[in-house]
């Protein structure tokens, strides 16, 4: 299973709206990032928050984004400042 992501890969966060609990912050949806590492597989919070068993477990990736890719000109800081977000694999696409 999975989409064959490896550390170092470029990914894009899925830009979808869902009406259930999920752990993907709005500000990274649709944004390009780079996978740093995998934390392991964890219960799916989108199931558990609604009384489900959280299975199958989903792989959780640490993804790094350039701040300027997220906030554009609004971001005041260095061009190489980054934001790190932990995201479940089913929220990631390969560009």
């Amino acid at each position: 299973m999975g989409i064959g992501i490896r550390a170092g890969d470029a990914v894009t966060v899925r830009s979808i709206e869902v009406d259930h609990h999920h752990r993907t912050p709005w500000f990274v949806k649709g944004k390009p990032g780079k996978v740093r590492l995998v934390h392991g597989a964890f219960f799916n919070p989108e199931s558990r928050a609604h009384g489900g068993d959280g299975l199958p477990k989903r792989r959780l990736w640490q993804v790094e984004f350039l701040q300027k890719d997220i906030w554009g000109a609004r971001y005041r800081g260095r061009a190489d400042d980054v934001l790190v977000v932990d995201l479940f694999e089913h929220w990631l696409d390969r560009p």
């Binding site: 005041r76 800081g77 932990d86």
Partner: protein, 204 residues
Amino acid sequence: MTDEHPPLIHAERSRRAVRILAIRRLLIEKDVVTTDELDDIIVRARARTPADGAKVVARAWLDRAFRERLLGDARTAVADLGYQLSHDAELAVVENTVDVHHLVVCTLCSCYPTSLLGPPPDWYKSFAYRQRAVVEPRAVLREFGLELADDVRVRVVDSTADVRYLVLPRRPAGSEGLGEDALAQLVTRDSMIGVAEARSRDRV
């Protein structure tokens, strides 16, 4: 056992307190948790304080092999110091260097390395901190009294899921020759969240 909360000392309850008590009552009514389980969670959270995280940091400053293990596999590294993490959450440690400064936030709620620092400070849970830390980290750091040099990159870590993040602050200049206990005195809670640096020796 009763599901009544103890009488409040203050007649006027804050909106937040009212909300928390309502949620607590619902969780108990719906059998999601028991009062004993809630009490147990609170007791366990309060059993840890930032002094525990400070010991881990001080050891990492002194012991290079421990530092490497801490950065690679924090759970087993801290277990060697007697800290058993719960299985609810993983722990990751991010290291500040001369080139990069880390700042930890949980934009979705208030995830925090409670197993090493105890309960989070109120500001960590505030909407203001959670919103601003990701958008304008340098301004937030300035308000905490930390002005970063222009050549330092900022790496904000948003703990959105099952991993709790602890910052390994830089060892202060002038701390050479100090032992583990003395070094731990330099490590503040805020320096392990990333809104401050470790104290310098003359400010202890």
